[in-house]
Amino acid sequence: MRIRKAVITAAGQSQRALPLQTLTDRDGQEKPVICILIEQALAAGMEEICIVVWPGDESRYAQAAGRHGSSVRFIAQPAPNGYGQAILCAREFTGGDPFLHMVGDHLYVNSGAKPSALRLVELAEAEECSVSGVQATRESLLPRFGTVAGRRAAGRSDLYRVDTVIEKPTPTEAEQRLMVPGIRAGFYLCFFGIHVLTPAVMEILAKGLPTLSAALAELARHEQYLALEDDGRRYDLGAPYGLLIAQLALALNGQDRAQVLSQMLELLADRELHTAAAGGLRQ
């Protein structure tokens, strides 16, 4: 199995502007978020990329994609029918091929040598099945993520054979159905936001399932489906200060790390000195 196509979803009504924001990437270049995501997909070996957008957003996205425009095509999601259906919009594009899937409102930053997307792609190609990136996540964050449970694969500490997937479970349900041996109490394997999906997923989504989690739960019942634990960090751009935190993460992991750190320290020191001086005056 070879994976050459990627699908990025960016059609959510409240998130459609986020991928167009400009950040300074690890290489010091200013780029729109969507561009960084495209580059991550290309780095993972993808040759064709499809971005699912809100109707009418195609040209703005094309502009944001810049020099990568030739590798990218856009598909509009005609009606806001949910995340699962957004992926399904790319069905024609993926055809009968497996594909890499990333969400447009998150940024992924790896500290290790190999990017998350690439690790996932390599594993999916080797195992010839769908693979999702997952991360042990505190139960207080469960309302935000799809969550999986499964058995650890023999000989690997970071790989799981998934048998259950639940979209945004309550901790009550998570405790009953999603506890995984070896994961700390109160932590669950939540989606990281990057998946490699087989064509079967598109077929399942076509039956009308509302979320990707529901489709993957169905998938796990019929064929092998793996989850790979990732040690990278994902940044939700839609969260409060999401863009700022993502920018800091990029900067602190990039070539300008020393410069950014020293500026931050200066900022902090100025503020503290100012506060201390104001306190002294009051006394």
Binding site: L141, T172, A174
Partner: protein
């Protein structure tokens, strides 16, 4: 694994039938040394064992050996000191340390009944603590509950409200949950107690039916049954948790996390427990200081918004034995879990998996609220008829390796193929479901069941096996549709196994109802059906269907009449009711009320609307304004809201004044009638307020020198002299029956002397009947009938007089006098310092962690009540009878002088020289010729019977105080430890030499007819007697079977202080425990029956 080295540890570790051997049978023939050797082995075994069942059973074995076997060995009879440090550790629930101290004392001083009584209490308490801890651990470790205990900060809070509940502002939709209650068709010998399911899952089975109810009132005999409990949940536009109980008429806005965990602060403890167990404010948050508003903002996703939770019980009274409160808790929890997506179905039924989770959360909620029920109690969550049965613990269960069975049972729902629709209909057409009205305390019964199960006493174990068989019979009859046979089975169950296992499950009230039903309906009465922990409250009577309607009417009349006859001797909480009922085939259900239908139950608005009407319209939030509009519209168009406008006016302008003034008038007339001494009262009130008297001032000066004293031994050589005095008519008996025995019925105000407390001579007997039967026997033995005096008070006189008349003095042929009390007190609101002294300074039994928290909250609330009501003020906010109090038994003997009873006695029996005066609850006190002879021979004016002290004998005893041997009251001892150094306890049976006692009063026989002289003499001596301030619990009843208990202050003078008078020659004689034991609490009865005391008492009686 420990190698078994004794016969008893063998039994505990055995697997087959050997495991079911009776402890009593194994110990019966062992010597004292043999018993002690077994105890040593058991104690070593239980300390080393890591198996829950083995530890608990060994603890119960140890407790039973020390309670029922060692004390019966003659070598253990000598008195011994119980180390105070051990007693103190018991109170603090440090059971292991207490046991070690008692064992060390036994090692040092040798075995004794006294130390054994302490060890028995320690082992028993540790056994129940071990069980409770295990239930708690199991509930916490159930998957789906664990996260709630580690969520301690609002930032970690993982629940979100479902979006469906957040639409439609300003008035949000209402989630309405309705739940049936459950009844237990088979009872099965209380097999739903947790430990039975966990140790004997094969024997833990019940047939449980979900039902809808309606109270059948005279005006509405056809009231349609509906689910009895309802919960309403919605989002509100204020950042508070608004809790309302419609039936308890209570509402509060909770604004802090700490307040959510304060269960006793108001009547909303159940709702708070549901909020916690439902995960809305998880138990891990207890102690968090962050604002509740932060948590609510995370929950709703809307800062500034909160949640409202409303409960409603559809007129079903408390104590129905239908698990109303557990099902209400489950109903509220289900609503909370649906709202937060912990249960996927927002409306309609819920899945089996979710039902199990709700049941587990309900157990958690009950533990949080400091209460507890059985594992079948949340059965209303399930639909229809189901068999609930224990399940062996398997790998993967949290109980695996700890107990044989799981904490939570399985539910097998019977479909139409197993129990046909026609059978269900027939069952509904045959059963008359009632609430008999009796007030009950089921807690001790459930403890007895656990204990007896583990001891496998022969008859009780046979009873349990029979009950298991009866369940199978009932299931068979149910499948065949034979309701008459079911009636026969439930009656057989009640007559046989239920009362074999727990004799106290039956009572005179119930047996009278059954007899009368049978008399009236003959063969058309198919059987009695006991519900829940004990009879007298919720009960069923099965009739032939063609007479059901008639039976409903007649049972109401029979219950009313029987209650009327018995209400002075049996505690009732309410007027009996008959229900209409229907089997609920749906289980718990929910729906969403939106738009104009988003209304709370009508009763809610009588609480919520008056404050809104008092608020200017411009200050009302949009939500409140919109709600008022909906309510107004509903009042016009909705049938349920008919009459609401009138109700509202009643609430806005309360009409309680007539009732209040009527109550005050009646209290004044009672005080007048019973000779209330207003001057004395005002003096006491002023002394109390000034701190001259009070709990701390009851005590003797700390400089008093107090040490142990030894009484005379019982000397049988004086028996002939005693018999001769009896034959010559020189003795009379005085039974003190002026008090109501507030500990006996927890302040319910019935006459203890008339309470049919136990079956003796084949049927239930009251204390008075028992005492008269003993007098009859003594009279027959000596050839002269004994005069018997029963002293009464304003509380008891009329009831006792009427009862004796109705029962023709229970056939007592001898002279029988009633000596009416002449003294009365008016209760007072307690002083805060006395409440604090009682709760903070005096030794208190600590409760289990959660129950203790609830109690501390309650104490804080009661201290606030005392301050608000006015410390030291007259207590008048209750029924008049509950505001008065008898002024202590010192007055009982002087009353004989003042009311002319002694004079009349002497006229009838001029040779009368001696009186035996005893408490009504000293069941085995009789006019014993040997003790009488000994009293005569000693020449004493007053001889007091004392018994060797056991752990439970608290309240003073025999002591040498500053060189005089006398009785000291417990409340007069300068410190709590002193009591442990006193070997003998006052049994409160006194022998009086009439002339010598009169001399102490400064009177002679000839002066008894001079009322003025007598009154003066009594007042003079009374002034020399100490006045003690005591706190008594008084019940205030309200609503439908609801009760509040208030501590009130009153004063007492006590007869034992006569022994301090230097001019009175006093002797003390040690008597056997069986003779001197007083029955203060119903929980004592079971041990009293098992240790042979009941049989001994029975043997002293001549029953007519």
């Amino acid at each position: 694994m420990i190698a078994p080295v004794s016969a008893l540890t063998d039994v505990i570790t055995a697997t087959g039938e050997q495991r079911d051997q009776s402890l009593d049978a194994l110990c019966r023939d062992l010597t004292l040394d043999g018993l002690l050797a077994e105890c040593r082995e058991l104690d070593t075994f239980r300390r080393a064992s890591d198996n829950l069942y083995q530890r608990v059973r060994a603890l119960f074995f140890l407790s039973a050996i020390h309670r029922f076997h060692i004390p019966l060995r003659p070598a253990a009879a000598a008195p011994a000191m119980i180390p105070f440090a051990g007693y103190s550790n018991l109170l603090k629930r440090r059971f292991e340390e207490a046991i070690d101290l008692f064992l060390a004392a036994q090692e040092q001083h040798g075995p004794s009944a006294a130390i054994s009584s302490a060890l028995a209490a320690g082992y028993r308490a540790l056994a129940f603590q071990t069980l409770a801890d295990q239930v708690r651990r199991s509930v916490r470790s159930i998957r789906g509950n664990q996260w709630m205990f580690r969520t301690g900060h609002p930032a970690d809070y993982p629940l979100r409200l479902r979006p469906e509940l957040l639409t439609g502002a300003p008035v949000f939709p209402i989630l309405r949950e309705t739940t049936p209650v459950r009844m237990d068709l088979t009872h099965s010998g209380w097999s739903d107690i947790f430990f039975l399911g966990m140790d004997f899952p094969e024997g833990a089975r019940v047939l449980n039916i979900s039902i809808d109810l309606a109270v059948r009132a005279a005006g509405a005999p056809d009231a349609q049954p509906k689910p009895p409990v309802e919960a309403y949940l919605r989002v509100i536009d204020q950042p508070v948790l608004r809790l309302t109980s419609v039936d308890l008429q209570a509402t509060t806005d909770v604004t802090s996390i700490a307040e959510v965990f304060d269960f006793a602060r108001d009547y909303l403890g159940l709702l708070k427990a549901a909020v916690i167990a439902g995960g809305i404010v998880p138990p891990g948050m207890e102690g968090a200081t962050q604002p509740l508003a932060d948590l609510l903002a995370r929950l709703t996703g809307k800062p500034g918004h909160g949640l409202e939770l409303v409960s409603k019980v559809n007129d079903i009274p408390k104590g129905s034995r239908l698990a109303v409160s557990t099902n209400l808790l489950a109903c509220l929890i289900a609503a909370c879990m649906r709202a937060t997506n912990q249960i996927h179905a927002l409306t309609g039924s819920i899945t089996e998996e979710d039902r199990r989770l709700v049941a587990a959360r309900a157990i958690l909620g009950e533990w949080l609220g400091g209460s507890g029920g059985g594992w079948q109690d949340s059965g209303g969550v399930w639909p229809g008829i189901k068999l609930i049965h224990g399940v062996p613990a398997n790998e993967g269960d949290p109980e695996f390796g700890i107990s044989r069975g799981r904490l939570l049972p399985n539910h097998k729902i019977f479909g139409a193929a197993e129990v046909s629709d026609a059978t269900r209909e027939r069952l509904q057409q045959s059963l008359v479901l009632v609430h008999g009205g009796m007030a009950q305390d089921v807690g001790p019964i459930l403890e007895m069941v656990t204990e007896k199960y583990l001891l496998r006493s022969e008859t009780e174990w046979a009873g349990r096996k029979q009950a298991i068989g009866i369940l199978d019979e009932v299931v068979t009859h149910l499948e065949r549709g034979d309701v008459a046979a079911i009636g026969a089975c439930t009656q057989k169950n009640f007559d046989g196994p239920i009362q074999t296992i727990i004799p106290w499950a039956g009572n005179l009230y119930t047996s009278t109802l059954i007899r009368r039903a049978r008399e009236e309906f003959g063969d058309d009465f198919w059987g009695f059906w006991m519900l829940g922990g004990m009879s007298g409250g919720g009960m069923g009577f099965i009739f032939s269907p063609h007479r059901k309607l008639e039976a409903q009417t007649r049972m109401q009349a029979i219950m009313n009449a029987t209650k009327c006859e018995m209400e002075h001797c049996v505690p009732f909480a309410m007027q009996p009711v008959v229900y209409n009922f229907a089997i609920n085939e749906l289980g718990t259900q929910a729906n969403i009320l939106t738009g104009g239908n988003a209304l709370m139950p009508a009763g809610y608005y009588t609480l919520a609307v008056p404050p809104l009407l008092r608020t200017e319209a411009r200050h009302l939030s949009p939500a409140r304004r919109a709600e008022l509009e909906r309510f107004t519209d509903a009042c016009r168009h909705n049938e349920e809201f008919g009459g609401m406008v009138h109700n509202l006016f009643d609430h806005l302008l309360p009409r309680g004044q007539d009732q209040e003034s009527g109550r005050a008038h009646s209290l004044d007339s009672l005080l007048e009638a019973y000779g209330f001494d207003r001057l004395q009262h005002e003096q006491i009130q002023s002394d109390l307020r000034a701190g001259r008297i009070g709990l701390a001032q009851n005590r003797l000066p700390v400089t008093s020198h107090i040490e142990d004293a030894t009484p005379d031994s019982l000397d049988g050589r004086h028996r002939d002299a005693g018999m001769q005095a009896l034959a010559e008519g020189r003795v009379a008996v005085v039974s003190l029956a002026g008090g109501v025995g507030s500990r006996w019925t927890k302040g319910a105000g019935v006459v203890k002397a008339l309470n049919p407390f136990c079956k003796l001579g084949g049927r239930h007997r009251s204390f008075i009947e028992t005492h008269l039967a003993k007098s009859l026997r003594v009279g027959r033995e000596c050839g002269t009938l004994l005069p018997h005096v029963i002293t009464t008070s304003y509380l008891t006189h009329d009831a006792i007089a009427q009862h004796l008349e109705r029962e023709h003095n229970f056939g007592y042929p001898g002279p029988l006098f009633l000596s009416q009390g002449r003294s009365i007190g008016l209760r007072m609101i307690p002083m805060e310092r006395d409440l604090r002294f009682a709760w903070e300074e005096m030794p208190q039994q600590l409760l289990d962690v959660q129950a203790q928290k609830v109690r501390e909250g309650l104490h804080a609330a009661l201290i606030k009540w005392a301050a608000q009501a006015g410390e030291g003020a007259n207590y008048t906010d209750n029924l008049p009878g509950q505001c008065l109090h008898p002024v202590g038994h010192w007055y009982e003997v002087p009353n004989l002088l003042r009311n002319g009873t002694l004079l009349r006695l002497l006229e009838q029996r001029p040779h009368l020289n001696y009186l035996m005066v005893h408490n009504i609850d000293t069941a085995a006190a009789d006019v014993d010729a040997s003790i009488l002879g000994q009293h005569i021979a000693s020449g004493a004016g007053l001889t007091t019977e004392v018994i060797a002290r056991h752990l439970e004998d608290r309240g003073g005893g025999l002591a040498r105080v500053d060189d005089r041997v006398r009785l000291v009251e417990g409340l007069a001892l300068p410190n709590d430890e002193l009591e442990s150094h006193l070997s003998y306890y006052n049994s409160a049976t006194y022998w009086l030499d009439i002339d010598r006692i009169l001399a102490v009063f400064g009177l002679t026989r000839a002066e008894l007819s001079d009322t003025g002289r007598v009154n003066h003499a009594v007042r003079e001596l009374a002034s020399r007697m100490p006045t003690y301030i005591t706190l008594k619990d008084v019940k205030k009843r309200w609503g439908k079977g609801q009760e509040d208990v208030f501590p009130v202050a009153q004063f007492e003078k006590l007869w034992g202080d006569m022994t301090a008078l230097p001019e009175l020659h006093c002797r003390f004689v040690a008597v056997p425990r069986q003779r001197g034991q007083q029955l203060k609490e119903p929980a004592q009865l079971d041990a009293w029956l098992r240790d042979g005391s009941a049989a001994h008492t029975d043997s002293l009686c001549a029953w007519e």
